[in-house]
Amino acid sequence: MDIAAANSIAMGLAVGLGVMGPGIGIGLIVGRALEAIGRNPEVSGSVIANMFIGIAFTEALAIFALVVGFIIKFT
């Protein structure tokens, strides 16, 4: 296996595996937030704001995986 092929496989693995956890996490966050809004619609404003902050934290992990993938592939 030459080095370019190994790089491509490594990037695919790094990004694909790294995105799995944050995907589950974002699903949980949004699900719980919607549950909370369904129970108590008056506070939907603050729930949605906090939801986006939680999503940003979780999404950052996926982005880290993506950045690592780019670094593997292109440097």
Binding site: F52, A56, E59, A60, L66, V67, F70
Partner: protein, 283 residues
């Protein structure tokens, strides 16, 4: 994928100034800064106590974030001093992200001697790790300085180094590490989001050049705003954590009161509200 897409992690240098490369991201950020200074100059030239025209819009744009900062920090003196830097961070990141999405940032460029493709004159600054890391360092020092200024150096240091018990010592070390790790997560979050967006649009344009990039560009507009808001909000929240004391020993310290207010929840607040309404002396 030969000959199709070219992706650079490092920004392209337009010229070399001695040993310093003048990159296109630097040029863009200078342009954004000049735009903001011009906007501030023209908006601030004709201020009046009774707002008219532009002033109404600008004031209403500033008032909501100010209210948010004050409500979050629950400390008006600190809020007044923190707000300018938090708002500046927000506007700077927002301006940088949105300026990077303008058509001219990709189209305007020139050929360089050694390179095959066109070097764009402007490029989204957040795709440069130098910019995001610099912002993260600024945010980091803002948080630490406000923490020290509010609590005092000794009290603030007790958060990280305490010899009360082995567990307190371990927690202090963990706090210290997470404080430093913020630098990485701050900078890589912004860098990764915007860089990934650029690559996404590039790949889409390579496969379907017409129409399909439009919704993705709109999504990038949204991402640029969200990331700017997140950067500013996280600075705000970490400042809040830094300025609130850690120890719950002193019975009626500000931290204790705050914890009580949070733990009390809405029921407590409702009871107080009801008591106020009926002018009954609260318990």
């Amino acid at each position: 994928m030969e000959g199709g897409i070219s992706i650079h992690l490092a920004p392209l240098a337009l010229a070399h100034f001695g040993n310093w490369p003048v990159t296109n991201t630097l040029v863009t950020m200078v342009a954004v800064t000049i735009l903001f200074i011009a906007l501030a100059y023209f908006a601030g030239r004709s201020l009046s106590l009774k707002p008219r025209g532009w002033q109404v819009i600008l004031e209403s744009l500033v008032m909501y974030p100010y209210q948010l900062v004050r409500d979050t920090l629950e400390n008006d003196a600190v809020a007044e001093r923190t707000f300018p830097i938090i708002m500046t961070v927000f506007l700077s990141v927002l301006g940088a992200n949105w300026f990077g999405l303008l058509p001219l940032t990709e189209g305007l460029g020139f050929h360089q001697a050694g390179l095959a493709e066109v070097t764009p004159l402007f490029y989204s600054p957040s795709t440069d790790l130098n910019y995001t890391l610099a912002l993260a360092v600024i945010a980091f020092f803002t948080i630490e300085i406000f923490g020290v200024a509010t609590l005092g150096a000794i009290q603030y240091g007790k958060k990280f180094i305490s010899f009360k018990s082995p567990i307190a010592f371990a927690i202090g070390i963990i706090e210290l590490v997470s404080e430093i790790a913020r630098l990485i997560s701050f900078s890589f979050r912004l860098f990764g989001n915007v860089f990934a967006g650029k690559v996404l649009i590039l790949v889409i344009m390579f496969f379907v050049p017409y129409l399909l990039p439009v919704p993705f560009s709109a999504f990038e507009l949204f991402v640029g705003f969200i990331q700017a808001a997140i950067f500013a909000l996280l600075t705000l929240f970490f400042t809040k954590i830094a300025i609130s004391g850690h120890d719950a020993e002193e019975e009626h310290g500000p931290a204790h009161d705050m914890a009580e207010r949070i733990a009390g929840g809405s029921k407590e607040g409702m009871r107080h509200a009801a008591a106020d309404e009926n002018a009954v002396i609260p318990l």
